[in-house]
């Protein structure tokens, strides 16, 4: 992203207030004085183009009372059921007691087939056009990786007839669900935060699309929804979580949520189910019997950019000492 892009997009979205701690609330006060009409007239305020006044003015997810939350869920359910012509359920299942999620990816197995990428798109209602992929699979020279992984050298555009290719190394990257997440720390509106089970979530109705979080994320894991979200009705996944896979409005940032709509029901994320080589592992870090604990205790693991001390909950590991 160039500096001028960032300026152009950020200014109208943060409204009259330029200060770093400009809050959504402060912004709304300013907006009230100039009037909502003027606001939606700002051409690059992407948010305003798909203007849903009730979503826009609702409280932050974390401040909603039980009754208010219930009302929001039913309203959103109705909105999407109507839009897509099928029964949509929107839950707000909270974190489970005694659960902190961890993810494991076996780099000695991954073949770079990208089946996880598209399983994620389907499950999480990612926009098809403009295309958004929450998972990017990077291809590296195996030789180079032996000296250390430098994400910037990864190529996401490889397209041989078959994978894996001799001499290549594949590394899928999505949100690392950092303990010290730089993204949530820079968010001016409190629209993104870490839940007690470790999932870093986004309240899409509070996101103003300033993209500070994208600049702050060292893993390139956050994605900006440029256009009207485009998911064909027959492909919509109707099992939604309010801070998970509800279709995002235009002009907000989105990313992996560990499939919050599935995992908070005890199910595996969609990418785990899709992986043909069984490289993807998921479980409760607090449970000594879980697969994630097993691999942390029995396998060689690493995290990306450990020097930044973001403390990811996404662990890469070598399931086998045999290299292909």
């Amino acid at each position: 992203m160039t500096a001028s892009d960032r300026d152009r997009e950020a200014k109208p979205s943060t409204g009259g207030s330029e200060s770093a701690d400009a809050s959504r609330r402060g912004f709304l006060k300013g907006a009230a004085t100039i009037g909502v009409g003027a606001l939606s007239g700002v051409p690059t305020a992407a948010k305003a183009l798909e203007f849903d006044i009730e979503d826009f003015f609702r409280k932050n997810f974390r401040e909603l009372s039980d009754e208010e939350l219930e009302a929001v869920l039913r309203r959103v359910e109705e909105k999407y059921s109507n839009r897509y012509g099928k029964q949509v359920t929107v839950s707000a299942n909270g974190p489970m007691e005694g659960v902190v999620f961890g993810y494991g990816l076996d780099v000695s197995r991954c073949v770079g087939c990208r089946q996880c990428v598209y399983a994620c798109v389907d499950e999480n209602n990612q926009s098809r056009d403009p295309e958004i992929h929450w998972i990017r699979v990077l291809e590296f020279e195996r030789e180079a990786v032996l000296r250390g992984i430098n994400l910037e050298d990864g190529n996401p555009y490889y397209e041989p007839d078959q994978v894996p290719q001799e001499g290549k190394f594949y590394l899928p990257v999505a949100c690392q669900h950092c303990e010290d997440s730089p993204c949530s720390q820079v968010c001016p509106t409190g629209a993104t935060w870490q839940e007690p089970d470790g999932i870093v979530v986004i309240d899409y109705d509070w996101c103003i699309g300033c993209r500070y979080c994208m600049a702050a994320c060292p893993y390139g894991a956050r994605h900006f929804n440029w256009g009207e979200p485009n998911v064909p009705a027959e492909e919509i996944n109707p099992n939604m979580h309010i801070i998970g896979n509800t279709p995002r409005p235009r002009g907000v940032v989105e990313k992996c949520t560990f499939c919050i709509q599935r995992t908070r029901e005890g199910r595996y994320p969609a990418c785990v189910e899709a992986c043909p080589v069984g490289a993807r592992k998921f479980g409760n870090l607090l449970d000594p019997e879980s697969e994630i604990r097993y691999l942390m205790e029995n396998k060689r693991t690493f995290v990306l950019k450990s020097e930044l001390e973001t403390k990811p909950k996404f662990f890469y590991f070598y399931g086998s000492s045999v290299t292909r």
């Binding site: 990864g154 078959q162 994605h223 005890g266 043909p276």
Partner: protein, 209 residues
């Protein structure tokens, strides 16, 4: 527990073997419930091999192995009458599609010579095809441990709750078990392929990292 063919990690630590035996009692009950039908079909055996009793997990469901190839016919249709030919050789009639690329194994390391519809373990215990994982893990003991823990191979369903296990043959052809290359799904679009100009390029250039 038998030897480990998977390389440098060495044999399982004693604590694991102990746990194995502790688990055995409950495991046998589980095997009966999971494989009840199959157990009845299994012929009388002289000894119970420990490996076989180790079901992965109390909440485990073993997914059936994928169907055999289209040409599959009950082995005994042809073999019941013929005496086994135990000489390792390249097969020219009927099984010329089975080109072994599995260590230096020969057919009869796995297939029973006298009861061709079954596999057999090192101690001659017969194992039906559906339970072939018991054969594989006899030689690949380290993999058994990882597989039970859900770390080698694949579990689907629930991280908390019922787990569906894929058995070894779901991913490995026993005759040439190395993973076969597959076609990748389409790559993401490059920045210059995306309509919408410079701002879109910004997003993707950043993503590309």
């Amino acid at each position: 527990m038998s030897s480990d063919q998977t390389g440098p990690e060495g044999p399982s630590p004693p604590s694991y073997q102990l746990a194995t035996w502790v688990l055995l009692g409950t495991a046998v009950v589980l095997v009966v419930s999971l494989f009840g039908v199959r157990l009845e079909q299994r012929p009388e055996t002289t000894r119970d091999y420990p490996v076989r009793a180790q079901v992965p997990d109390a909440l485990a469901v073993l997914m059936p192995a994928p169907p055999m190839s289209d040409e599959y016919m009950p082995c005994s249709d042809c073999h019941a009458e013929e005496p086994a030919n135990r000489t390792p050789r390249e097969l020219e009639d009927d099984h010329d599609d089975k080109k072994l690329a599995h260590g230096d194994l020969w057919c009869l390391h796995c297939h029973s010579a006298d009861q061709r519809d079954y596999l057999h373990l090192a101690d001659d215990t017969l194992v039906p095809f559906e339970n072939s994982w018991q054969l594989c893990t006899q030689c690949h003991a380290k993999k058994l441990r990882d597989w039970r823990a859900g770390v080698h191979g694949k579990r689907t369903g629930h991280w908390r709750g019922e787990k569906e296990y894929r058995t070894c043959v779901a991913c490995h052809d026993p005759h040439s078990p190395a993973f076969k290359p597959i076609a990748p799904k389409p790559r993401p679009r490059r920045p210059e392929e995306i309509a919408g100009g410079s701002s879109a390029i910004g997003e993707h250039a950043h993503d590309g990292l």
